[in-house]
Symmetry: none
Subunit: 205 residues, 4 copies
DNA sequence: CATGAATGAGTTTTCATTCAT
DNA sequence: AATGAATGAAAACTCATTCAT
């Protein structure tokens, strides 16, 4: 930045990066909403910028393409998800709490996360092309956790844990959509019901 | 008509399934493949017609719009699904066969159906806007069936059957995609594993 | 027509030209209605044939193009109009009837003609590109008639008869549309009112 | 900005009438000409933009559709016509000038207006679907004016003024087309001739 | 006489993206 | 940091017309 530019910026009294960063954040936010509600193709760059009150070129100042902003939202989701599940290391040192309680902790965390991040979850986890990969990763994680429990002898040995993990992940997805996001049920209740069924089954013993 | 023409006509089968009907069927078939593989927006009418070896206007001879042919494929799925589950009346007179066997019958039928109708299932059941409604209907059906079993005392009374039904439907969807369509597993095996887990849970008793 | 064709026709038992001629007439009729009501561009060949219950190629069996059938309707109008005004030779041998009566005869004939031939009048006289020419011809005719009367000393010498003729022709057109075709007035009444005004003016003397 | 650029900008008039506005005006102008000369259907958006030296999308930057720009021209005509006739309030206090002079003033104004606004007059007043309505409005206005004169005793009481108004309006239209726009006659002369005939008729007294 | 099937040649419209300033 | 103005490239759709039978 040469002295001339400094003068300009000084004259306009900009806090460094402030205005631009605000536009950028705003567009991301609006894009999340639009993509989540209308999907990638029905979301127009024009809609995003006009809702953000900026011009079309402003969009390309911050995002290289429509794909890019979409991807950025997916990345956002991935990072947050990583923060969530990366930490939940249910490995070897299993706590003394009851089995279902332990599992509920993780499940509830996911539901709560999906509840709080509805837009990007919808985009990344439900609709994007990468949803398959993301779910695959999460499934592997869950399968890993289940395997630990199995090795500890909590679970039956004749269960195909990859199938079990798929059931868990798909149930999370669907219950999030049909129960959580519709307000029909809370993260707490869904978690309880789900764990109950998956751990013990539905058959009367 | 000389003998050569006779051959041609014979080869083309002019009589059975008029030319028009053949073009129509062909386009539907190609469209199913394209929509399933590339989605609605990436599927171009131009691709469908060129693969079908006809001109663009020919498309509009048989379908009023791109949306219309898409919807027709969804309707096709819905009709076939209705034929499948409409008949599976798990009514009062429950047979003496074992519980899991009974349930497996229905589940296997669905997996087999999804296996045989991969394209339209992908379109209608996985990707279309109406997928939500379709699943809702199927979920209700499953919940109804479960409720009958519950009334017969086979299932625990404290289970939320709507949640159970959601778990079933979402598991079917996911396992179809990850196991069945990838060839990782057969309808038979998936059914067995799924029923095992959902009926009895994964916990060692 | 060779003997083979004769056989075919004979076999089908067709009265010569009957069927085809009927289709042709029917299409002309429908076309007249459609063109009059919706104009040239909004009238589709497809609409004409489907209303006539025939196939598209049948149209081209009788008319070489959409333009051609349109032109044929205009020609129809022109022929009929010619029959009408060609005869009305108000030349030298002027009858002893009163001036206005003489003029009314011609005018009433035109209004009645337009009333009976609404569709082709609308097409040829109001909307077609040739309307200008047709009106020009009719205007010249009227001017000719007026000139005869003028020479006989019935009309003022300082009147520009070409302007007068234009006023007559345009009034006929407009009153046909707004009074006659809407049913607001009859040919008889319009004629009287019009002649009254144009002969004597509206000023109180 | 160097002195050359200054020249250019000056030449292009960047400040006054922004570039966009200029493109818009230009397209409106060209469209008026095209629609007037070739009609709605033979006028292609492609012709307008290529004559304006811009790309097709530029058209849609300023007009939502081909219909829209057509309508805008009609609106333009209506507004201008309203300015013209809205003011011409022939109210109670009729001036001492002669009757024909009074009427000539209004008529001449219309002819002059049509002469100066040939394109939009052709479009809106002659060819558009709304021409009928527009003429209806103008006819009512004229009839109103005539009625005032009639009440003042200038006109005969036995005249159907709605018919008279129709004659006036249709004559204006026709004489505009055949005399004014062809250059055969001037607004001044046509007005005189028309008023003469309509006020006093063509009969020698 | 008649048609089922098909198409050439447009035409409007859309949208992400960029240029010049 | 920002934008007014513009566009390349496609896409869906239409319709008069014709071919083969």
């Amino acid at each position: 930045m040469n002295s001339f530019e400094v003068l300009i910026v000084g004259a306009r009294g900009r806090k460094k990066g402030s205005d631009g960063e605000r536009s950028r954040k705003l567009m991301l936010q609006i894009a999340a909403e639009e993509f989540a509600q209308n999907g990638f193709y029905h979301t127009k760059v024009g809609t995003i910028v006009s809702r953000a009150g900026v011009s079309q070129p402003a969009f390309y100042l911050y995002f290289s393409s429509k794909e890019a902003i979409y991807q950025e939202l997916i990345d956002q989701f991935n990072i947050k998800l990583e923060e969530l599940v990366g930490n939940s290391r249910l490995d070897s040192d299993i706590e003394p709490s009851s089995l279902s309680e332990r599992i509920e902790v993780g499940l509830r965390a996911i539901f709560t996360f999906f509840e709080k991040n509805q837009y990007i979850t919808k985009i990344a986890f439900i609709h994007s092309d990468q949803a398959y990969k993301i779910k695959e990763g999460l499934t592997a994680k869950i399968e890993g956790n289940l395997r630990v429990e199995q090795e500890y002898g909590y679970f039956r040995a004749d269960i195909d844990l990859s199938i079990a993990a798929e059931i868990v992940i798909s149930s999370i997805e669907r219950l999030t959509i049909t129960q959580l996001w519709t307000g029909k049920s809370t993260a707490e209740d869904i978690t309880k019901d789900m764990v109950q069924i998956i751990l013990n089954g539905i058959v009367k013993k």
